[in-house]
């Protein structure tokens, strides 16, 4: 318990340091550039304390649970040797964590709005929610596929950069065919899919697999899953825009 207590105090201090730059930036611009007083100081201070506390809990919880879970599951799958179930798990992890991602829901609703203004779909709520939902499924599916490809890569030891560069090439080739309205959203969708819980879990899965499999180096082979998860949504969202 004393270990946890010391860990907690140390982490609170570190979280505080991590947040200093944001507040410096905000204060500097507010006072010296915009030259306005700070609105609502009490909320600002309480909010800051909550952010520090939240970050502290998150980091400690991360080391107690998300990292060990991800790695132990990777070991268990590697021992079991069932490729099918490993890939099924990889797909579910990618699909399941993305479909409920709040940032993605916000972006797809925005996209439906744009599509209706650009007369790609009707200007009715039903058409918009259909479009947004289809887009969400598309992105979630593409992240599931991404994790599957990433896991296969770790198993076979394929060099990451060839796959990523081919992905880039696909993005570059299909962009001219995609409707203008969807390009910005497609490019952004790659960044918004990877959430705070997904990243540690997926990273631990990759690193765990690369550690458990003979001949793989956790450093060179373990990373890269997130990279696929940020690349495939761009391709799939543009394809969605081209097909519709």
């Amino acid at each position: 318990m004393t270990f946890l207590k010391n860990r907690f105090i140390k982490q609170i201090f570190e979280s505080f340091i991590d947040l200093v730059p944001i507040f410096t930036v905000i204060l500097f611009f507010q006072i010296f550039v915009i030259e306005q007083p700070l609105p609502d100081i009490i909320n600002l201070i309480t909010g800051t304390l909550l952010v520090i506390l939240g970050l502290t809990f998150f980091i400690i919880g991360l080391e107690l649970s998300l990292f060990p879970i991800g790695e132990s599951m990777a070991y268990a799958f590697a021992q079991k040797g069932s490729l099918f179930w490993l890939l099924a798990f990889a797909f579910c992890l990618g699909f399941g964590t993305t479909i409920a991602e709040p940032a993605l829901i916000a972006v797809t609703n925005e996209a439906a709005e744009i599509a209706s203004l650009g007369n790609i779909i009707n200007d009715s709520d039903a058409a918009k929610s259909n479009y947004a939902f289809g887009l969400r499924i598309t992105v979630a599916f593409s992240v599931g596929i991404a994790i599957v490809i990433g896991v296969l890569r770790i198993l076979h030891g394929w060099p990451l950069h060839y796959l990523i560069i081919s992905g880039y090439a696909i993005v570059v080739v299909i962009t001219p065919f995609a409707p203008d309205e969807i390009i910005g959203i497609a490019y952004d969708s790659g960044g918004v899919t990877t959430s705070t819980i997904t990243v540690p879990l997926v990273t631990a899965l990759g690193v765990g697999l690369a550690t458990a499999i003979k001949g793989r180096n956790p450093m060179t082979d373990g990373f890269g899953l997130i990279a696929f998860a940020s690349l495939t949504p761009m391709i799939f969202v543009m394809a969605y825009g081209i097909i519709l």
Binding site: P39, T46, G47, E63, S65, L66, M73, T220
Partner: protein
């Protein structure tokens, strides 16, 4: 206080709901496929609760302190009065927006440094590399990448140039760097593009993009407001590859 508790329980419930599918997948596979008990179930459950409570507190705090202020500032910095231009003007020199670039860069830098998922990946990278990659330096490199990316992204919105061209140019740089960079860092560098844009960065940066696109003459927020996140995911890759390259040049052999 009561109000606050109500709002907090709502945030906590929302976070719980987001975590639910992940928990279901993990528990389902653990019971049905792996069929082995989880090591230290108590500790793991505790840690999981910590993560959920941590994210809820974090989001709650951001919504109270940072998001309203950040959005207000994005708005104030982009108003025609502040930029000191005629609100009827149809064309404005991109140079007039210097404070916007400065704000975009500092905001990108600072929010990335506080991004929880980046902290997680940096911790892992430091552990795996046995300290050859320093977690804090990695985060600084990524933050510099995001700062540059977002500043360039605001420049694109202001000038109204094609997003496509910037992204293709960025890819070409990444490909060239990949050829020369130490092999050890490549996976981590590619991953750092995706992890930077998360809880803190996305809402603030999106707000900045939409405000800019709706105030700069001749821009349409729906068409031009997007793309900043893409910049924020591309430039950290370049920054981390450069960091590794520089580290390799400085003490030859330690990273390879």
């Amino acid at each position: 206080m009561i109000d606050w508790l109500v709002i907090f329980s709502k945030t906590l419930l929302d976070t719980g709901r987001d975590v639910l599918p992940i928990a279901a997948i993990i528990i389902g596979f653990q019971i049905v496929i792996i069929r082995k008990p989880i090591l230290h179930p108590g500790k793991t459950l505790f840690g999981f609760l910590y993560v959920v409570v941590g994210i809820a507190l974090f989001l709650q705090g951001l919504q109270m302190a940072l998001f309203p202020l950040g959005e207000l500032m994005a708005h104030q910095l982009t108003t025609p009065e502040f930029i000191n231009i005629d609100s009827q003007a149809t064309k404005v020199s991109w140079l007039s927006y210097y404070w916007v670039y400065a704000f975009a860069a500092s905001l990108g830098f600072a929010t990335t440094l506080a991004e929880p998922s980046l902290i997680a990946v940096a911790i892992k990278a430091e552990q795996l590399s046995g300290g050859a990659i320093h977690a804090f330096s990695l985060r600084i490199a990524v933050s510099i990448g995001v700062a540059f990316g977002i500043a360039l992204g605001t420049f694109r919105i202001i000038t109204g140039t094609e997003l496509y061209l910037y992204i293709v140019a960025g890819y070409i740089i990444v490909i060239i760097q990949t050829i020369f960079a130490p092999k050890l860092i490549i996976g981590l560098a590619y991953d750092s593009g995706g992890v930077t844009t998360s809880t803190v960065t996305v809402p603030l940066v999106t707000a900045l993009g939409l405000e800019l696109a709706s105030t700069v003459p001749g821009r349409n927020p729906l068409l031009d407001g997007f793309g900043l996140i893409a910049f924020a995911s591309l430039f950290p890759i370049i920054a981390v590859l450069s960091y590794a390259q520089i580290a390799e040049w400085r003490n030859k052999g330690s990273l390879t």
